[in-house]
Symmetry: C2
Subunit: 478 residues, 2 copies
């Protein structure tokens, strides 16, 4: 790793020692994200105003210093790890939130926490649906960088569907704005959406205008259990065929249910222990939900082994709490997890669930799977023990098979996490050579010096070979 002490000194002179931190603690804290693979930067920049981001980038280009941008670092992919060292811009100091209540828009800075944006919107009767499970920690800038999803994706969409405009800086340090605070915009190429999901490689977002939707007046939660996974997914398909769009529709396979039960020492669904479940929520106007409820209850009576509606908001919250715990609970089954957020088209649900059963059998590994069944985004968790080389090899083989099968079934290797470092071995399963070349050409066009988040997406890195920092992050389940 090339060091740039003169460039760092120049930056410090320009922005001051309060903005440009070079102490060991600051650099270490910015050296890893939730993947816990650490690469030490030379400085951490905490900008006081957006324009300082431009100053950093301009100087970085002049001196050839790598720059990685981070919010809270909740990403699991390594996308926020400063792999080539250099400078890290920590956006959390830019965290304004302003709700434009008549128009139903939120004007936010990149460092604003997603949960805070949701609450600010809710206070004025508006709703910002994207809800990654890290929402109380993660920043909107990070959500934009990886096009974050969450449980609401099936009905409402993902981060991209709620971004109206972005402002920020090109990798070369020039200030740009993509889009206006309006719902329509057809003036020039759409670099707004090119930035969204580009994982901090094509530009730096400093601010965004988000679209809000009216807060649903009514919510209703139902827990259903099924004989087996095939029956659960067949039932889900029947529900969608009846044109029911639940706001949330979460599937937990039997392994996930058992993990959650073992970790929480309570049954996910009393009397239905060890059965796969679907937990769903309807949301909308009072009469709309009342109408849909009837359809859903009839569906549950026909398809499920049992069903239970939450009678109160508190009871519903208990049901959701179990769902949220299931990811962390999996560490009962191994100390290492390949957490893949694949997406399947509905027509492939059954073929995939059969493949998954075979993969569990043939790999000999526990692979608890849960996820957002209204949009096909399933979290497949390949669990193994780091100290057992045979398990590690089996896990590596299983993840390769998984990714190939997902693409063969018409799906995507990532639905909401992105590529970062973790999914670089699989990018070329999803994309042909021409597609990858086109992406790289765009990268070179916008970042000719290659300073922004280098080493990600295109270079193949097997992150399971790297040592992990032994730290506990606030959003870690265990």
């Amino acid at each position: 790793m090339k060091l740039n002490p003169r460039a760092t000194a120049a930056l410090r002179r320009k922005l001051g020692a309060k903005v440009v931190l070079t102490d060991e603690a600051s650099c270490y804290a910015a050296s890893f994200d939730s993947s816990k693979i650490s690469f030490l930067p030379e400085a951490v920049i905490k900008p006081r105003k957006e324009a300082e981001v431009g100053v950093v980038l301009t100087l970085a280009n002049r001196h050839g210093v790598p720059v990685t941008v981070r919010g809270r670092g909740t990403t699991l992919t390594g996308a926020a790890a400063p792999m080539a060292g250099g400078w890290v811009i920590d956006m959390r100091s830019l965290a304004d939130i302003r709700i434009e209540t008549d128009a139903g828009l939120a004007e936010v800075q990149a460092g604003a926490v997603v949960g805070d944006i949701q609450r600010a919107a809710e206070a004025q009767g508006w709703f910002y649906p994207p809800d990654p499970s890290s929402k109380e920690y993660c920043t909107i800038g990070g959500n934009i960088a990886c096009n974050a999803g969450g449980m609401h994706g099936g009905k409402y969409g993902v981060t991209r569907d709620f971004v109206v405009a972005l402002r920020g800086f090109l990798p070369t340090g020039e200030a740009v704005t993509w889009g206006t605070a309006t719902k329509k915009f057809a003036a020039g190429f759409n670099l707004r959406d090119l930035w969204i999901g580009s994982e901090g490689m094509l530009g730096v977002v400093t601010g965004a205008v988000l679209k809000l939707i009216p807060q649903p007046a009514e919510r209703w939660t139902l827990l259903t259990s099924f004989k087996d996974e095939e029956q659960a997914l067949t039932a889900a398909l029947a529900l969608f065929r009846a044109r029911v769009q639940p706001a949330i529709c979460e599937f937990l396979d039997a392994d996930s249910v058992r993990c959650a039960e073992s970790a929480t020492k309570q049954a996910v669904f009393a009397g239905q222990a060890g059965r796969p479940v679907i937990l769903l929520e309807l949301a909308g106007g009072k009469s709309e939900v009342r109408e849909l409820k009837r359809t859903v209850l009839a569906w549950a009576a026909e398809q499920a082994t049992a069903h239970r509606a939450a009678k109160t908001r508190a009871e519903a919250e208990q049901l959701w709490a179990v769902r949220r715990k299931c990811s962390g609970a999996m560490f009962e089954l191994g100390d290492a997890k390949l957490n893949e957020d694949v997406v399947l088209p509905m027509r492939s649900y059954l073929a995939f669930i059969r493949f998954l059963a075979a993969l569990k059998r043939e790999s000999g590994l526990p692979i608890p799977t849960f996820g957002h069944v209204a949009d096909g985004n399933l979290h497949v968790n390949i669990m193994y023990h780091r100290a057992i080389p045979a398990e590690e090899r089996a896990a590596e083989k299983a993840v390769q098979r998984l990714m190939r099968t997902v693409v063969e079934l018409g799906g995507a290797i990532s639905g909401e996490h992105g590529i970062g470092l973790a999914k670089t071995p699989f990018l070329r399963i999803q994309h042909n050579a021409a597609e990858v070349r086109a992406m790289q050409a765009v990268k070179t066009a916008l970042d000719p010096q290659g300073i922004l988040n280098p080493g990600k997406m295109f270079d193949v890195v097997r992150i399971w070979k790297f040592a992990r920092e032994q730290v506990k992050l606030p959003w870690d389940h265990k």
Copy 2:
């Protein structure tokens, strides 16, 4: 214009004389779009299968032949006019439509007509909302190229919001797919959305997967009239503030109303002659619409000079027919029209309507204005007589002032038409130099030979100086 007879002959040998047409009538028909500015191509290609598009592009790159892609040519901007000659690919021969009914997706080829897609979806209980007024003629490929909108934009969004995946060819002729038939996708840079709205300059779309939504069970149409334009827009803002999201919310200023009345020889709203109107439609579940209706009727009683709900679908259709006629009706006021589809943020509605009153006064020109008031997309029609130089000068001056004011007010110079040739003089009012350079860098990265739709977007062209073909197109109102 450089001619390429040898390249054309080579292409003909490769794809056959039935696919590669060089007769005068075919070339003339492909020489202009709805802007009616004609540039003769050397050949028109009507591909029998998608792969032939790749063959055309590969050969075009080898010989440096410009290629322009067209659907039906309904665009008003000149985006489909083959400005540099060369070859035109007419996509209408690729027009398959297949509804994946369980998943709520439509798999379509680029040449499919938007109205046909809507009907195919509706037949299975699904709804494809984007509805440009040319929907019975225009193709989905063209809608994707300009990110078409329509009256449903405010509630449902625009074309971009319904495109799940695209397939087609890079300008260099390589086959690519962006996205899968799933609602989530976070694997690599998002070139899907970069293609959408890129006006045929960054790639050729041959097929698309579109998202559908459940067909609303109930619709309800209300016509309201107002004292003046300020009062109409103030009322609209009050409605949105009450969290009512009409499926459609169309505003017609008094001039537009008078045009429609003069052209149709009937009152837009009996007893309210010459008053600005808002025509709105609620859509949704039966009980949802019933609930909203109450709110809207109370709003109308308070804000409007009069209101009238359509009692039947046929009566509603009559109300919408008047709205659809108002664009054509404007030719009563002049034989030339600068039709600008600007977008204003809600916070600027009143400032804009005051500016517009001043612009009408000071230019001395009729400027009837109507549009989609739920998303701020207003069609400002500057009418003049071609034969009167003073009027032409006044129109040119007015359009410049209009565009500057729109951007100063935080809006966009185009909401759904795009830039093409028509808006090239204004692109740099919207975008700063760095933004335009970034767009051009992306263009060069993906189309190094510059063969795809050259001469558009970035080179300033004053299309009002060009002669127009004297042809009547099927979608012309007059």
